[in-house]
């Protein structure tokens, strides 16, 4: 039966991806749900929530709100919060409830903007998509709304700073809360004066000045669309890479000569693993992903995974000597006897380095 998961649990959904992009930006984030989605987003998909405060709210929708489509009540509640909480924007994130009742998010945005004196983002998530779709949309909307071209033009002339903007970096993709610090260190050593990790480590001011970046780095497919947008608007060139593979992992990858390898991860990280293996060995490497597989980053034989059954079939028919991915996925591979190399993917297993649990 299509859509049946017998061994795996569902991966992080689109609303978690959208919320992750906004988490550190100082806005009011309203999850348009009955409460459960907010609990999942915060309690499971957002490791920063346990140590950093963020103004995340559930709309607390009840059956009659949904049946009667009482958007006005939601906006009134949002205004109440906007009056009480210091924030520089508000965002409304969708879930299956508004999806079923066909909530008009553009109308919701207009209604909210009329009531509160803050910019509003309305992100129509469905809960049926995966986190990177929600994150991609959130990045794009964020830069469209806030990246300030006038301020950029003025400042760019005065500034000689070499700035790197990092896109696609959320705990869901990088699975390490210290990833921004590690990345900043790497690129400062390469001569950058500033490294701005949008949405993870740097706030809304960095987003507003995104046009000042000398170059953008995309570390996951979720950041690619925004990178293209920033290139179009500000002419900022971008590269796609994942410079966060550890030295110990690189050593392991050097030892895969002669092997048939399947890498299952987010596409940018998976491609980096492939490049690293190919630099030092003659291994045959295929990338597969449950998540966005961007055509421009994809090789011909790369595989878009959609069902558990297909994943099992790919592994069984591919006769891979080595699989690289989150160990959680091994639950589906009961018959697999080859080597499994674990690279955590928070969006899959909920495993995140340097996270604190409440």
């Amino acid at each position: 039966v299509k859509g049946l998961l017998k061994y795996l649990s569902p991966f992080a959904p689109d609303q978690s991806g959208a919320a992750a992009v906004l988490f550190e930006l100082g806005g009011i984030t309203v999850i348009c749900d009955a409460g459960g989605c907010t609990g999942n987003i915060c309690g499971f998909d957002e490791p920063r929530w346990f140590t950093k405060k963020s103004a995340i709210f559930s709309a607390g929708l009840r059956d009659m709100d949904a049946i009667l489509g009482r958007d006005d009540r939601l906006i009134a509640k949002l205004k109440d919060v906007a009056d009480k909480v210091d924030a520089n924007f508000a965002a409304i994130i969708g879930t299956p409830v508004p999806a079923v009742i066909a909530t008009d998010f553009r109308a919701l945005k207009r209604m909210a903007q009329k009531k509160i004196q803050l910019p509003v983002l309305a992100l129509e998530c469905l809960g049926t998509q995966l986190y990177d779709v929600g994150a991609e949309n959130a990045y794009l909307e964020l830069f469209k709304q806030f990246a300030d071209s006038i301020q950029t033009d003025v400042s760019k002339e005065k500034s000689n700073e070499k700035i790197l903007g990092v896109l696609g970096m959320t705990p869901l993709d990088v699975s390490d809360l210290q990833a921004p610090d590690k990345l900043k260190q790497i690129y400062k050593e390469q001569g950058f004066d500033k490294v701005l990790c949008y949405g993870m480590g740097d706030g809304l001011d960095a987003v507003k000045q995104a046009g000042l970046a000398t170059e953008n780095l995309v570390v996951s497919p979720a950041g690619l669309q925004a990178a293209k947008y920033l290139k179009k608007v500000f002419g900022t060139p971008y590269t796609v890479a994942y410079p966060l593979l550890t030295e110990s992992m690189k050593e392991i990858l050097k030892q895969l000569s002669g092997k048939k390898v399947l890498v299952v991860h987010q596409q940018v990280l998976a491609n980096e693993v492939r490049t690293e293996i190919s630099k030092n060995t003659d291994a045959e490497v295929t990338v597969a992903s449950w998540f966005l597989l961007k055509p421009e980053l994809k090789k011909e034989k790369d595989i878009q995974l959609t069902t558990e059954e297909q994943f099992i079939e790919v592994v069984e028919s591919g006769q891979y000597d080595v699989i690289i991915g989150d160990i959680y996925l091994k639950r589906a591979l009961k018959q697999y006897t080859g080597t499994y190399i674990h690279i955590p993917h928070f969006a899959v297993s909920g495993e995140c380095a340097n996270a604190v649990k409440f």
């Binding site: 649990s9 907010t38 995966l130 409440f358």
Partner: protein
């Protein structure tokens, strides 16, 4: 701009009365703030027993969650818990399903595929549904009957409808009804009693077991102690049910209607004299004399020892606890301590305690974890020596804490004794703020 955290003192709240609970304390009147202190509200399944875990209380059962992927996300954690591996399955809904309801046509086949994948057939397949089907108005009883006919295995619905949380039948009430729905009429045994309400057993040394034995009960059934499906089915032989959690009232009513088993409700209390009184009333209802003096005396001694060692202790009490935070606070105040802050969800039924707290400790501050203003709670301003509850700990991270949210359920004198033992332990190693 206002940056004050909303709270109300006990005397102000008591004066307003149950008919005029301030909007700030009512979750339906504002957006619901999400902090780690609210996790058990927003995602009841994330810690302890939510609908998904509770739905698997029947021995040998498995669950098929029929929902968009997002609804099953935190189940990854549950699958890792002992006893739940290979018991959760998912039928993911796509964009079209959530609008057209076409997923319903796949359920019978999905159930069959799940059953076929297991070495031993399950005793029942629980179908867990979420807000989407609540809005689609799915007749799940019918869908489950159809799946049951198709597979030859009992299939039951289990509603995780967060949208109905404050409705007449909230999800945690409904799931309790679901898990007893497979019981079928049997001859009743006068010496058998069911303890209903929790999904984990009472602590082994709970005096209730001894008290029931005193009055001639030989077999005490708890669903969480049922080793197999037959043990579960034998719950239908009970002479009466003891309902230990008000969320189980509906299940008890249903059992009475279907199987003719009556019930008596007992409340989990922390006031020593009220525990004693409740046992007196239970004895009167059953026409038996209950002897509980030894338990009473022991509990009194433990409380006295604590109070002598730590007089006038200042408590902050949360709601993520195995207690009614208002009743527990009242108990602590009556034992001679201070309760400076309570983080609770105020409902009309709490006023019986709030009014008494107001008389004894009018300045006790009552907060709600769910208020948007809790974003600005400054633990530097709060005054407490010890906190009870994970939520209270969140606000006072440097304070001694007793989480008191263990799965094995405390009850009666023994629950009270264990709480004070934990408090003593925490204060000996804790730090006053």
């Amino acid at each position: 701009m206002e940056k004050e955290v909303y709270y109300i003192t006990a005397d102000e709240l008591a004066e307003r009365g149950r008919e005029a609970i301030p909007d700030e304390l009512q979750s339906a009147k504002h957006l619901i703030y999400s902090s780690p202190a609210t996790l058990s509200f927003n995602s009841p399944g994330a810690q302890g027993f939510g609908v998904k875990r509770a739905g698997l209380a029947i021995p040998g059962s498995v669950m098929l969650l029929v929902a968009p992927g997002c609804c099953g996300r935190n189940t990854t954690m549950l699958s890792e818990l002992g006893g739940y591996a290979n018991r959760f399955f998912y039928l993911l809904m796509d964009d079209t399903d959530i609008v057209t309801g076409r997923h319903l046509n796949k359920i019978s086949k999905a159930v069959q595929e799940v059953v076929d994948s297991l070495e031993t057939p399950p005793t029942v397949v629980m179908i867990c549904l979420t807000c989407v089907d609540a809005l689609l108005g799915t007749d799940m009883e019918r869908v489950c009957r159809k799946a049951s006919d198709y597979t030859g295995i009992p299939v039951r619905p289990c509603y995780m409808y967060a949208l109905t949380r404050e409705g007449r039948v909230p999800p945690m009430t409904d799931v309790r009804k679901s898990v007893y729905s497979l019981l079928e009429k049997r001859d009743r045994k006068p010496t058998t009693v069911n303890l209903l309400g929790y999904f984990a057993p009472l602590l082994d040394d709970t005096e209730l077991y001894d008290i029931l034995r005193q009055i001639g009960v030989k077999q005490m059934n708890e669903i969480s102690r049922c080793q197999d499906f037959e043990a579960y089915l034998s719950m239908a032989e009970a002479n009466f049910n003891l309902v230990l959690n008000p969320e189980c009232r509906l299940a008890a009513e249903d059992i009475k209607k279907r199987l003719g088993i009556p019930s008596i409700e007992l409340t989990r209390l922390y006031q020593l004299d009220k525990i004693q009184r409740q046992y007196e009333l239970l004895g009167a209802a059953l026409g038996k004399k209950i002897e509980d003096t030894a338990y009473y005396e022991k509990a009194k001694q433990v409380i006295d020892d604590f109070t002598n060692a730590h007089p006038n202790t200042r408590f902050a009490v949360g709601e993520c606890v195995n207690a009614d935070p208002f009743e527990l606070s009242l108990a602590l105040i009556r034992y001679g301590h201070q309760v400076t802050e309570i983080y609770g969800t105020v409902a009309p039924e709490n006023f019986i305690y709030i009014q008494k707290i107001a008389k004894l400790s009018p300045q006790t501050r009552i907060y709600t974890n769910l208020s948007p203003t809790m974003l600005y709670y400054d633990c530097g301003k709060g005054v407490a020596d010890i906190t009870i509850g994970k939520d209270a700990e969140y606000y006072h991270p440097d304070c001694a804490n007793v989480a008191w949210n263990q799965e094995r359920q405390p009850f009666g004198y023994t629950g009270l004794i264990h709480l004070f033992e934990e408090l003593t332990k925490a204060l000996e190693g804790g730090m006053a703020q």
